[in-house]
């Protein structure tokens, strides 16, 4: 892989992030020319919640952010602070820095998204590939329509359904019916001091339902895509020749079939990341899971503009990064791209 290829990918990554943040910056400014800090101040005053630190907040922002200055100067300021990794202060939780809030929430979201998306991708692709192969087990054939039915349902709807079924006690549920945590990432009764094994296990236990809402909804999508790709691959001459050379069916299936059918699936995965993130935000809100989605939701509800900016910026970086990673990894998994790389 050449330096120019990597350079071009990095350039593309920066360009995408820059364009997206620019849109994020200008869109609310074009829509209204009101000062968000003053808006917030007025709102809090109206509800009698004017905290003592409020004047300091306005002063800090007027100075820090230069809200009275022309738009292009504000934009330059905004960009230069982003480059320095400075996401400003939270309006509601002043003087907490937005960056610190995000760092606190990030592991939860990354863990939830990472594990559920990878699980769904792996399970879906594997079952899709098996379904395309002669001799696929009957139960799997029966399961596909079920997952296909689940796949167009938005994550948050599935989240509510799962919550209703598995987080709430009903009359009709038999004794053995499992009940899982309704909300949060750890038990309310336990206070943890830093990360340890118990806390990780507790978090995983609390993440089952949010993760299942994503996994159940996605399996059908990946299975369908993989089945289609696998059917195409099976018609390829190299699979036929592999069979005619007397290779073992397991080897033909994995190294000749799946290995090739996975390539377009990975592209779909990188492209689907933005949709997945936006879906995860709502799942987090429903389960009051302390990730970036809940943070964003609360920020929107409380007009905490700088938290919104910050979270959206980090989400943009994550989505752009997933595409970037795919671009870097792709030449290693598809030698035909290597020449172009």
């Amino acid at each position: 892989m050449s330096i120019t290829y990597i350079g071009a990918r990095i350039g593309m990554f920066i360009l995408v992030v820059w364009l997206a943040t620019t849109v994020i910056f200008f869109l609310p400014r074009i829509a209204s020319d009101r000062n968000p800090v003053r808006e917030r101040l007025v709102m809090m005053a109206a509800t009698g919640n004017l905290a003592t630190g409020m004047e300091k907040v306005v002063a800090a922002y007027e100075e820090e952010y230069g809200l009275d200055q022309p738009l292009y100067l504000q934009y330059i300021r905004y960009l230069s602070s982003l480059v320095r990794g400075d996401l400003n202060y939270s309006l509601i939780n002043y003087p907490t820095r937005v960056w610190d809030m995000i760092v606190q929430r990030m592991p939860y979201t990354l863990g939830l998204v990472g594990i559920s998306v990878l699980t769904a991708f792996a399970l879906g692709s594997l079952s899709g590939a098996t379904l395309a192969w002669p001799g696929a087990p009957k139960w799997l054939k029966g399961a596909l329509p079920v997952f296909l039915t689940l796949s167009p349902i938005p994550y948050f709807m599935l989240a509510i359904m799962l919550m209703f079924l598995f987080a709430v006690r009903h009359q009709w549920q038999p004794e053995w019916w499992p009940l899982l945590p309704l909300a949060g990432a750890t038990s309310v009764t336990t206070v943890y001091d830093g990360w340890n094994m118990d806390r990780i296990l507790d978090t995983i236990y609390h993440s089952i339902l949010p993760a299942m809402s994503i996994i159940l909804s996605q399996i059908g999508f990946w299975a369908l895509g993989m089945r289609g790709m696998m059917v195409t691959t099976q018609g390829e001459d190299y699979v036929t020749l592999a069979q005619m050379r007397g290779l073992k069916p397991s080897r033909v299936f994995s190294l000749y079939g799946m290995r090739n059918a996975t390539l377009p699936q990975l592209t779909s995965l990188a492209l689907a990341m933005s949709l997945i993130f936006s879906g995860v935000i709502l799942v987090e809100v429903i389960y009051r899971y302390p990730g970036m989605g809940t943070l964003l939701y609360n920020a929107i509800a409380g007009f905490d503009y700088f938290v919104i900016y910050g979270v959206v910026f980090v989400l943009i970086v994550m989505v752009a990064a997933s595409t970037f990673i795919l671009d870097i990894v792709y030449p290693f998994i598809d030698p035909r791209v290597r020449r172009a790389a």
């Binding site: 390829e236 001459d237 190299y238 036929t240 020749l241 592999a242 069979q243 005619m244 050379r245 007397g246 290779l247 073992k248 069916p249 080897r251 190294l255 000749y256 290995r259 090739n260 390539l263 998994i333 598809d334 030698p335 035909r336 020449r339």
Partner: protein
Amino acid sequence: MPDAVLSIRDLRVYFNIRAGTVRAVDGVDLDIAEGEKLGLVGESGSGKTTTALAIMRMIKPPGEIAGGTIQLDGRDLVGLSEPEMRAVRGNDVAMVPQAAMNALNPVRRIRSQMIDGLRDHGVSESRERTEERLTTLVAQVGLNSNVLNLFPHELSGGMKQRVTIAMAICHKPRLILADEPTSALDVVVQRQVMETLEEVRSEIGAAVILVGHDMGLMAQFADRIGVMYAGKLVELATVEQIFSTPRHPYTRLLISSLPDTAGKRRLEGIPGLPPSLLEIPPGCPFMPRCPEAMDICGVDVPELLGETDMVSCHLHTEAATV
């Protein structure tokens, strides 16, 4: 033929589709001697490729081997279980595929793909020994050993076809099936590839069935030629006999439709179309197009008869002379 490597009797391959049963191969008898080169010709849909696939037991649904026996060294392949058959493929019978352009896995190096075959046929040896073996194999087909490090897209069409030949001879098979191995190559490379195939074939002493419709290629390569029409073998004779004294009217028309480099004769085709394999008419399948058709041809299917030059035509049976 008692010393036959391959002995096919009454092979029938049917495709059961909604419209009925397509008789792609309908009662083929064929013997191939050790080290013999047999050309199988015929127009598209005559059943030549299907016959080759049937020998490999690679007929896929809705097709099936509806009857007959395929004996390889006295062992009936039709009766083998799928795992037993897998061990035969590549080991006793090898295939040189039609479109080498896409016949190799695009994401794996040639070396790994060749090693796959060794592993799955139970060859376990040291890495050095394997490397030596692979180097010898690719050298046999006229390639440098650095192709082992390459991916298929880095090879030319001719090189890819040579790799498939190297794969085919890897286990010294008794029989090689070559299904139009040069159809995707230009004429110069075609010749080189065919010469390579002949060289390695004679080295390992394998018999070859060359499937194709290039009569010129057949004349240069084969010992005997089998002519197929509508799922049946209509004539089977040595190359000399086929070209000098073709006996079946279809073979005659086939040869007279070849371009002539000497004269400025107009190219002539065979009028009409082969019958639908769904409803093969009674009697000789070639009768509707045959310039020498007789009354009996419409009612009775001629058998493949003869000693060295076998033909299935009523012009050469008792029925016609009576």
